[in-house]
Symmetry: C2
Subunit: 377 residues, 2 copies
């Protein structure tokens, strides 16, 4: 057993919750052409955003995304500065024409959806459609949501990284006039979805599709053209769409990284394969938790456990902080990093995005079993 | 002469107006440690923004900037998403507490300052202090500016990249209660300045200090704490300052690139050296223009010619488009790229930021002389 416990990964197993692991092949390609991009003699970092070379990069990124996600023609794809937090303002500023004159619906299932709602309150009357929860361990049934029928849209966060809660279905639009706006920052491109279910999809790219500093917006074209008058240009979908995401200098290098990452996803087999792998990774960790007789504890309702962020305590429901500290330390010794839980909930969090091979989740689950066998009281 | 005309640069001379050339040594370092940063076993792109390693990167960037610019202690340094365009909204949203309740002063000396004023009009009453100009070829004397004494601030753009106009002095604050807000996006870190002259300095990093997707804000601390209620969190200096630029995931890789770039500036000798080089580069080009007997034409008042962007026509004041096309083509053959003038003004634009060695400006000026000798009618 002592021998077995010394097993060290042959590479760092990066479980950071975001910015997160990037596939080695993607990093390798970026490194190879960092100084000289193709036959240009310059770096992508030094290129004009209006050059034919950069145009090819951003248009290829869009083309790949449309192909991978099967995005219908009546949806626009925008590459924008910032991440989810910027989009929390963008959504109300673009979907509500009148300052403080519109109602909007928010389903609160964790820290991120609550942050989104708070930001929207600067501009709209926010209706929180879900009951106030003490802990974010389940998703209240959609049938019980108190949706204001006059709301301009219905917003929800597909995956909550802190509590580890994820919708395992697509919430349908309440009516023809109330589109669904969804934050997919933390589970973007991790399984096939029906884009046409949504009015707006937002996603920072730093978890499943690239690096920090870029967000992707997929918006149905009939929702454009009516921004609030106070919407800053940088957040204005209508202007960004009109200028093909090149109104101002975009975050060029993050766009380039996403372009390579998207090619990698396509080459791996697309969203079916990403979905299969995420299921396998999640099963490895949650099965270990469930078969631990309470040594590992995850309080999330199994019907909404996150495939991206497995959050658990060690040594029982409340967690044994000493044991958790030891676990994190022993992970580190085995080159498993980034497993410390978010400060709001404590414990352990294993984040497993597109770039993590299933074998690495297996390595972690094997270690969890060994750790349990040695430390169970 | 034909022999001389065939002289080809041994590398691409990148005159892009932004994103722009990055020093080779900076790119080389980024390439070397792209996959594995120091002894972490992961890339900077994969690091948590809350990790000690990234904290060291962003704090070192700040420390270097404070040292290079001699930033007084009562100024805060923020690393923010977006670029100048985002900051055009941020400035009024942070310096004016009341929506549509404040007056602000803008000096209009080109396309960028006009864009900044237009954005501010969403939130404030904008007073354009300069007379309406037909062409942006001079900077109206500050004594003639019609500044509204109740204005919350006085804004100007230090360098206008399209017309090639640059202030060669620092505009002093109008009064103790009206700070100067300055956009230094296109001449940031290109010469020593007295930071204490300004209330707010904004600069996108993609020209003189890094790559696209990041802006730096230097703000006097007494100006914090009074944002407009409608200010999106992502643009809120007070929140960003409170969280040391880590309220949300920042553009980590662009921050890392700026950190290396700043080290390069320091190693080269700091802003005195950057200033000397920019003067030398500019002199090489403008002297060639001035000694061309009208073959090259730059209409900007010599007291405000941009050191960063030399804008000129070929074949007389109105420009001979055929000759300009030929010039651009022959530049390309000599590996001089990015010299086509902005579509709003036409002609030629030679952009020369921190990363361009003086020898490259000499190479361009030599070519300009040879081109003139062969093509003068």
């Amino acid at each position: 057993m002592a021998e077995k416990m010394k097993k060290i990964s042959n590479h760092v197993i990066n479980c950071n919750a975001g910015p997160a692991r990037v596939p080695y092949d993607v990093l390798r390609k970026a490194q190879e052409e960092l100084i000289y991009y193709e036959n240009t003699g310059i770096s992508v970092m030094e290129m004009s955003h209006r050059s034919p070379e950069f145009d090819n990069i951003i248009r290829t990124a869009e083309k790949l995304l449309r192909e991978i996600m099967t995005i219908p023609d009546n949806y626009r794809v925008l590459f924008v500065h910032g991440g989810g937090t910027a989009q929390f303002a963008s959504i109300p500023l673009n979907l509500c024409p009148e300052y403080k004159g519109c109602k909007v619906n928010y389903a609160i299932t964790g820290t991120w959806s609550e942050k989104a709602a708070k930001e929207a309150e600067k501009y709209c009357h926010v209706c929180r459609v879900t009951p106030k929860l003490d802990k974010f361990t389940s998703i209240p049934d959609v049938d019980t949501w108190k949706i204001d029928p006059d709301g301009k849209y219905l917003f929800y966060t597909d995956n909550e990284t802190i509590a580890g809660v994820e919708y395992q279905y697509q919430v349908k639009p309440f009516s023809d006039t109330m589109p669904v706006a969804i934050d997919m920052t933390s589970n973007f491109l991790s399984r096939p979805i029906d884009v046409s279910n949504y009015g707006v999809i937002i996603a920072g790219t730093q978890k499943n599709a690239g690096i920090a500093g870029l967000a992707i917006v997929i918006v149905r074209d009939d929702l454009l053209g009516k921004p609030m008058s106070i919407c800053p240009t940088i957040l204005d979908y209508t202007i960004l769409n009109k200028m093909n995401s090149l109104y101002n200098t975009p975050p060029c290098y993050p766009i380039y990284m996403t372009r390579i990452y998207l090619q990698w996803i396509k080459d791996q087999g697309g969203l079916e394969v990403m979905g299969d792998r995420s299921d396998q990774r999640a099963r490895l960790i949650y099965d270990t938790v469930d078969q631990s007789n309470g040594f590992y504890y995850n309080g999330v309702n199994p019907n909404c456990r996150s495939r991206m962020n497995a959050v658990f305590r060690i040594g029982g429901q409340k967690g044994d902080e000493q044991l958790e500290k030891q676990f994190i330390q022993e992970c580190k010794e085995r080159k498993i990093i980034g497993v410390k839980g978010h400060r709001l909930v404590g414990g352990i969090r294993v984040s497993m995005f597109n770039a993590m091979p299933v074998e690495d989740a297996k390595f972690i689950s094997d270690f969890m079993i060994e750790f349990m066998e040695l430390n169970r009281k």
